[in-house]
């Protein structure tokens, strides 16, 4: 295949289809930084700019302008040219005037646009992006894709791997579809690909925009049925919390969850959602206010009892892995009856133990890691689930599987608090949704309205 100058190629494929490997190959990093066997020929005219998924793992320098200049220094640009180009590149990504800020003071969305600015600064002939919006909130993702649209209009050649097709679809001149075996399935304009391979894309679990789904006859999702009158599980009043020497990140939050009830918490990065989640399951002690989990303050409960009552899914799957194999990780801390549920559950999560059990949790894809981190929680069957981004990195098939398991748990009387950027999940869960901003939680509304 060829990508012409000024073209935008969108790469789609189910999880594990080699999309990221394709990006590394284009960036010239395969064989050099990543060991493996590389066959075939690849020619790229001129330098390549690369943006990866995790904003925090690609910023090198302490301050914004130094970070943009880093790539220019590496290419030996003269100082005067750098001094002119750095503010220009920052303006191109909407960060004009922030040059002397520390990169750690930027929001996730700003950090990712900074990474884009750093990749753009040396005027690459080709820009390659590997799921650049995966870690961003909806507004941050939209702002990022808007910048990409402006670059495309200005004639930049772009290769984009992206799960959030609703946003990326309109940018694509052509689409490359990779199959689960890493082989190309189709290549062509969006209309031609949908016409030729639409059904195959859906069967492979690849997300498509809602209007394409409708045109292909995919039935719209049925929202979950709201539950009324369950026994109260969780009751929080006037919750406030601040980390040491910092301003409070949670201020005066009230919320209650009953058995079978689902509550989605949405809102921008840094609004205090994860901190609230940690307060609800007793990982943090509130500075003010009270939490009652089945009548007790969760931070005072012994670990074993806490784990029986409530589970917490951390945002970053890797940060909660404590064992060296998938099987040991899924079964960590489980007892006899809970362990017995594991094989069937792993099958339902598309991580059959026969195939995945002996692997290292770190060797899994992001979406597989997410499902593994859910396995132990779901096998234990606690009364309350507090899940931070439970659907991260899921394709259509694994998303469906996950949703079915969560609904089955809800029908069995479990309460669910889902902290998420996934607007689709908010709608599919049904129930209520509440927006968090600046540490405060707004009054919950019906989920359909929030999604």
């Amino acid at each position: 295949m060829e990508v012409a100058p000024g073209e935008c190629l969108l790469v789609l494929g189910p999880s594990g289809s080699g999309k990221s490997t394709f990006v590394l190959a284009l960036a010239g990093l395969l064989g050099r930084d990543v060991p493996g066997g590389l066959e075939g020929a690849l020619r790229v005219e001129g330098p390549v700019g690369v943006v990866f998924q995790d904003p925090g793992a690609q910023l090198v320098m302490e301050r914004v302008d130094d970070d943009v200049a880093f790539g220019l220094e590496n290419r030996g640009w003269p100082r005067a040219a750098m001094a002119a180009r750095v503010p220009e590149a920052l303006a191109e990504v909407g960060l004009a005037g922030l040059g002397r800020q520390r990169t750690t003071t930027l929001s996730g969305g700003q950090q990712q646009r900074l990474a884009l600015g750093g990749a753009l600064a040396p005027r690459p002939r080709l820009l390659v992006l590997d799921e650049p919006t995966a870690n961003l909130d909806p507004d941050g993702a939209r702002a990022f894709v808007d910048r990409l649209a402006a670059l495309r209009a200005a004639g930049t050649t772009i290769v984009l791997v992206e799960h959030r097709v609703e946003l990326a679809w309109r940018l694509a001149d052509r689409i490359l579809v990779l199959g689960s075996d890493g082989q190309p399935v189709d290549l062509g304009t969006p209309d031609a690909v949908v016409r030729r391979s639409g059904r195959a894309l859906i069967e492979a679990g690849i997300w498509l925009p809602a209007d394409v789904d409708a045109a292909l006859g995919v039935p719209p999702p049925v929202p979950g049925s709201p539950v009324v009158g369950g026994a109260p599980l969780l009751d929080a009043r006037g919750l406030a919390f601040g980390y040491r020497h910092r301003d409070p990140v949670v201020r005066g939050v009230d919320l209650a969850v009953a058995a079978g009830e689902r509550l989605a918490i949405v809102g921008p990065n840094g609004s205090g959602k994860s901190t609230l989640g940690r307060l609800l399951v007793g990982l943090l002690r509130p500075d003010a206010g009270t939490v009652r989990l089945l009548g007790d303050a969760p931070h005072r409960l012994p670990a074993g009892e806490l784990a029986r009552r409530a589970a917490y899914l951390f945002q970053d799957p890797e940060q909660q892995f404590l064992a060296t194999t998938v099987e040991a990780e899924a079964g960590l801390g489980l007892r006899g009856g809970e362990l017995a549920r594991l094989p069937e559950l792993m099958e339902a999560l598309a991580l059959p133990l026969g195939r995945f059990g002996a692997r290292s949790p770190y060797a899994l894809s992001g979406g597989e890691q997410r499902r593994l981190s859910l396995a132990g929680i779901l096998a234990r069957r606690p009364r309350l689930l507090v899940l931070d981004e439970p659907t991260f990195g899921q394709d259509r098939a694994t998303y469906r599987g996950l949703l079915a398991i969560l609904r089955e748990r809800l029908d069995a009387g479990v309460g669910l608090v889902a902290i998420t950027h996934d607007e689709r999940l908010v709608g599919d869960l049904g129930g209520r949704a509440a927006t968090m901003a600046g540490g405060r939680l707004a009054e919950p509304v019906a989920a359909e309205a929030a999604a």
Binding site: R32, F52, M61, L72, R75, R79, R102, R244, E318, L322
Partner: protein, 254 residues
């Protein structure tokens, strides 16, 4: 959580902030050599006062900020004074003058003197360190190491990137311990926890190295410099004042 010191604009624009980190390092090392070499309290006091003055005067470090950074060392110094005074070998000397006696406790004047000198020395050494840390940005240090001390880029900027990952590492540890608790495993430590922390650190380093190489780092082209480090008037000033303080300290010695 570990938080790296964030310097404000006044600290960075001060004579100490503008001087090359290597100049400050050279002066600081000369002072440290002097402090370690002597057991005389007078030069120690001279350098202690000079260090605090350099930070708060020449470095415009707010006094409260300096005190907060210094506090752990003050506590440590207090402990050293106490231990050496109470358990000092000189307390066994029958000829020494006794200050305090009661039960098994016998505190003599030479033991107290030794304790105080050791405590002062810790305060002075810590003062030098705080003066350096509160006026030096990590990036400036890396720039100076590469451009003035001719250290390899890969080492200096790799170390800079690693240094910035320290807060992330401490966050990883907090989260892993929380994860243990949510799995019903209690708050304790385990080999698995430390292994997981090591794996996270390695994976983060791997990703960062990939991102650096994707931006052409270490590609064999000579790097240019966005922030050239030049010798400035402030370097001469800091070096001269540093040498003067050291001279006064030596003259003050018996």
């Amino acid at each position: 959580m570990i938080v790296l010191p964030e310097l404000d604009v006044r600290q960075l624009a001060s004579p100490m902030g503008r001087a090359s980190p290597l100049t400050k390092l050279a002066v600081g090392l000369a002072w440290l050599a002097g402090l370690v070499a002597t057991t005389d309290p007078r030069p120690t006091v001279v350098l202690l006062v000079a260090g605090v003055a350099a930070a708060t005067g020449l470095g415009r470090v707010p006094v409260g900020r300096f005190a907060r950074a210094w506090l752990p060392f003050v506590v440590a110094a207090g402990g050293v004074v106490l231990v050496n005074t109470v358990f000092g070998a000189a307390n066994a000397d029958a000829a020494a003058r006794v200050i305090l006696e009661g039960g098994p406790l016998r505190v003599t004047e030479p033991a107290l003197a030794t304790g105080l000198v050791l405590g002062l020395r810790i305060l002075a050494i810590a003062g030098v360190g705080v003066a350096f840390a509160q006026t030096t940005e990590a990036t400036a240090l890396a720039d100076a190491l590469v451009q003035q001390a001719r250290l390899p880029d890969r080492f200096a900027y790799g170390a800079l990137a690693a240094y910035q990952a320290v807060p992330r590492l401490s966050l990883d540890l907090v989260t892993l311990r929380e994860a243990r608790r949510t799995r019903g495993l209690g708050r304790g430590w385990s080999a698995g926890l430390l292994l997981a922390l090591l794996v996270l650190a390695l994976r983060h380093a791997e990703r960062l190295a990939l991102a650096m190489d994707a931006r052409g780092f270490d590609a064999g082209i000579p790097r240019s410099r966005f922030r050239p480090v030049r010798r400035r008037r402030e370097d001469a000033l800091i070096a001269a004042l540093g040498a003067a303080a050291l001279a006064v300290a030596i003259l003050a010695a018996r």
